[in-house]
């Protein structure tokens, strides 16, 4: 098992390097850069910028150097100083920008993931064991609605409904009276109140998916012979359900952790914009629009790295859960 994990981590290194290269190149691909975009904006507003000034800016930002050199400089900074570069748009270090947002983003994403599992796995189990019952149809209906309704629309509607009925504005992270207040218990409670709605909305669609996946997997497993064996052995229905088929049916859900993590991070862009939450989603959107290349590349790279790490985590979990994977891995 340890050897398996170690081998997986070693194979991660080339993948991560490749990811950094692709993240960097993808952001460089569109024509122009931060300087040409700024000059265009100035020109549009009627201000004349002379060629020399443009050249000076390009040189100052280091944009005149070839791509390969800029990539190496960027990577050197990340690997040796942990420095992700400079954001032109914010005139700040990328690290500072991300440090303010990534913890919140991660907290919301992971909480949303856990919340969606907490809701969907029991519902999926119920739906599968009570197939075609009234509640199965009700849960299926709700699941499809959650799946089909865009999150930002639900966010808009619910934000309005909450504001109209209770007078509480769920937008942003803190109510206005706490915005500049020092950290306090009241502020924390206020923060939690503001996080309920985004959490609910972000976990909505993945809950719908997970209910369907859990239900379908479990229905397949329930027909398997080993379940009948366990029942024939005299195990109680609930006991055998949890020990045998559920353990098998959650495998595919665990194996999707890898891409659920970044999916939640990027999927909540619109929700975050609508609800005014400062996560990495809106930051990435603005950075790409403004061709703030180091910021955009850093976010893309971090999201991709999260995917890879998520996949690693799910593979390790799967190996822990399913002996066939564990042994298949070490045998070769």
């Amino acid at each position: 098992m340890l050897a398996y994990i170690a081998r997986r981590i070693v194979t991660l290194i080339p993948i991560l390097l490749l990811i950094s290269l692709v993240s960097f190149l993808v952001i460089q691909l569109p024509p122009g850069d931060w300087v040409t975009r700024q000059i265009n904006t100035l020109k549009l507003s009627g201000i004349q910028v002379d060629e020399g000034e443009a050249m000076r800016l390009t040189k100052m930002y280091g944009l005149d150097k070839p791509i390969s050199e800029r990539y190496l400089t960027w990577m050197k900074g990340i690997l040796f100083d942990g420095n992700f570069g400079w954001s032109f748009q914010w005139n700040q270090n990328v690290n500072t920008l991300l440090a303010a947002r990534i913890p919140l983003t991660m907290a919301i994403s992971i909480a949303a993931l856990l919340l969606s599992w907490l809701i969907s796995i029991p519902i999926g189990i119920y739906s599968a064991t009570h197939q075609y019952s009234t509640w199965d149809y009700i849960f299926t209906f709700i699941g499809f609605i959650g799946l089909a309704t865009p999150g930002f629309l639900v966010a808009l509607i619910l934000a309005w409904v909450i504001f109209a009925t209770t007078g509480f504005s769920p937008l942003g992270l803190n109510s206005s009276q706490y915005l500049d207040a020092p950290a306090s218990w009241g502020k924390f409670i206020d923060l939690l109140k503001h996080l309920i709605l985004p959490l609910f909305i972000i976990s909505l669609s993945s809950t719908g998916v997970t209910i369907r996946v859990m239900r379908a997997n479990l229905l397949d497993e329930l027909k398997k012979q080993y379940v009948i064996t366990a029942r024939a052995k005299g195990l109680s229905e609930l006991g055998l359900l949890i020990k045998y088929p559920v353990r098998m049916a959650i495998n595919p859900i665990i194996s999707t952790v890898g891409w659920v993590l970044p999916g939640l991070v990027s999927g909540e862009v619109l929700v975050s914009i609508v609800l005014g939450i400062q996560t990495t989603g809106p930051l990435l959107l603005r950075a790409t629009l403004e061709q703030d290349m180091y910021l955009a590349s850093s976010i893309v790279m971090i999201l991709s790295t999260l995917t890879v790490i998520g996949t690693l985590i799910s593979d390790i979990l799967l190996a822990a859960l399913d002996p066939r994977i564990r042994y298949g891995g070490t045998a070769k």
Binding site: Q225, T229, K233, G234, E237, K243, Y244, P323, R324, Y327
Partner: protein, 388 residues
């Protein structure tokens, strides 16, 4: 008439000196373990109701074995599942009849009708595996792939034999695995099912079925998925363990030769009904039901010239149709139109232990036929060829 030559001569035939001690199979209850009376298990599907088991009755005595033969879909597995109450519900349901188990209760002998118990009740769960064990058709899937074989055997022991420590249960599992012929049981008790071959897994399954010393072992086509050599070993193993543990055995198969090896009594089923029930010897020497006779003719012979095997003409009737008469009517060579398709043939006791469900042996019913049947010449011809 063709006498079956068992395909695999495994051992001597102790059933040759098997003498039938009961005068009436329904009344001698001292030694009975299970009495099934008029069991009806139906499946309610969208397309209609399938009467998978439709009025089946049989007994098995302690230590004896009953072989159940029939084509696929004739209800032989459902009959067994009904005893354990593991028929998938919905769509299946035991709608009628009695399944009486003669159990040894805390206050002496006790007769329990398992159909009266709730399928997931504590009493039913206590009967499963402790009183009635089962070996399934597919050794590949009958163990959960996520737990070791030992874990799943120990689980059953801990569940049914209170006061067993984990260590003792493990020791017992190792002994059982050794008994069913698994090499290095101390090591393989910790093996996962996918690390064992099909034959090994079926041996482990047998070990698991025996783990709580059941009084009745149901073997539901346990060798279907195995090759012939392994099949012979497994059959031999079940037979010897049955003797050693003194269990009753219900052996379900569509393989006539195998059933003849395994059983004291044989019951032939067709479309959820019992066609014929007799001791093994009697069944092979003197099959009475046209369906049994047709089955026997389809067994390949080792002696004599190679000839094309005789098949039973026609196919199984639509299982959703409710048969007013004999279910075998449409394929029967000796059918009596007007009689066999009009009413359900009664179970006729031709000799004390031999019952057959066919009008050919019901002289009373047959004597009435000519008045009901307009085409008398055709019918008498059928009769002449029918009675040998």
């Amino acid at each position: 008439m063709v006498c079956a030559t068992p395909r695999i001569p495994i051992r001597d035939k102790p059933w040759l000196d098997w003498s039938n001690q009961n005068d009436n199979i329904m009344t001698n209850s001292n030694n009975l373990f299970i009495e099934v009376r008029n069991l009806q298990t139906y499946f309610y599907l969208y397309e209609g109701t399938v009467r998978a088991v439709d009025g089946v009755s049989y007994n098995i005595e302690k230590g004896k074995s009953l072989g159940v033969i029939g084509e696929s879909g004739c209800g032989k597995s459902v009959t067994a599942q009904s005893i354990m109450r593991i028929v998938p519900t919905p769509p299946g349901k035991e709608v009628g009849g009695e399944v009486l188990l003669h159990l040894q209760g805390p206050n002496g002998p006790q007769i329990v009708d398992v159909l009266k118990l709730k399928a997931d009740s504590e009493q039913m769960r206590a009967i499963r595996w402790k009183e009635v064990g089962m070996i399934f058709q597919e050794p590949m899937t009958s163990f959960s792939p996520l737990f070791t074989v030992g874990n799943q055997i120990i689980e059953a022991i801990l569940l049914h034999i209170p006061g067993t420590t984990k260590k003792a249960a493990r020791q017992q599992a190792i002994e059982l695995l050794g008994k069913v012929g698994i090499p290095q049981p101390t090591r393989l008790v910790d093996a996962y099912p996918h690390q064992l071959s099909g034959g090994m897994r079926q041996r482990a399954m047998i070990a698991m079925a025996l783990s709580c010393n059941p009084k009745l072992l149901i073997a539901d086509e346990p060798t279907t998925a195995l090759d012939v050599t392994i099949e012979a070993q497994i059959l031999e193993l079940i037979r010897s363990l049955q003797e050693e543990f003194g269990m009753a055995l219900m052996y379900i198969s569509h393989d006539l030769a195998v059933v003849s090896e395994m059983s004291d009594d044989i019951m032939v089923m067709y479309l959820g009904r019992v066609m014929e029930h007799a001791p093994m010897e009697e069944m092979f020497n003197n099959p009475l039901h046209p369906y049994t006779q047709a089955l026997w003719r389809s067994i390949p012979k080792i002696e004599g010239p190679l000839a094309r095997l005789q098949t039973i003409s026609g196919g199984l009737p639509n299982p959703y149709l409710i048969q007013k008469g004999c279910p075998f009517f449409s394929r029967c060579e000796k059918r009596i139109p007007g009689l066999c398709d009009g009413a359900r043939p009664p179970l006729i006791e031709v000799s004390p232990s031999h019952t057959v469900s066919c009008f050919l042996y019901d002289s009373q019913a047959r004597s009435k036929v000519p008045t009901e049947q307009p085409n008398a010449t055709q019918q008498s011809a059928t009769q002449q060829s029918g009675v040998s």
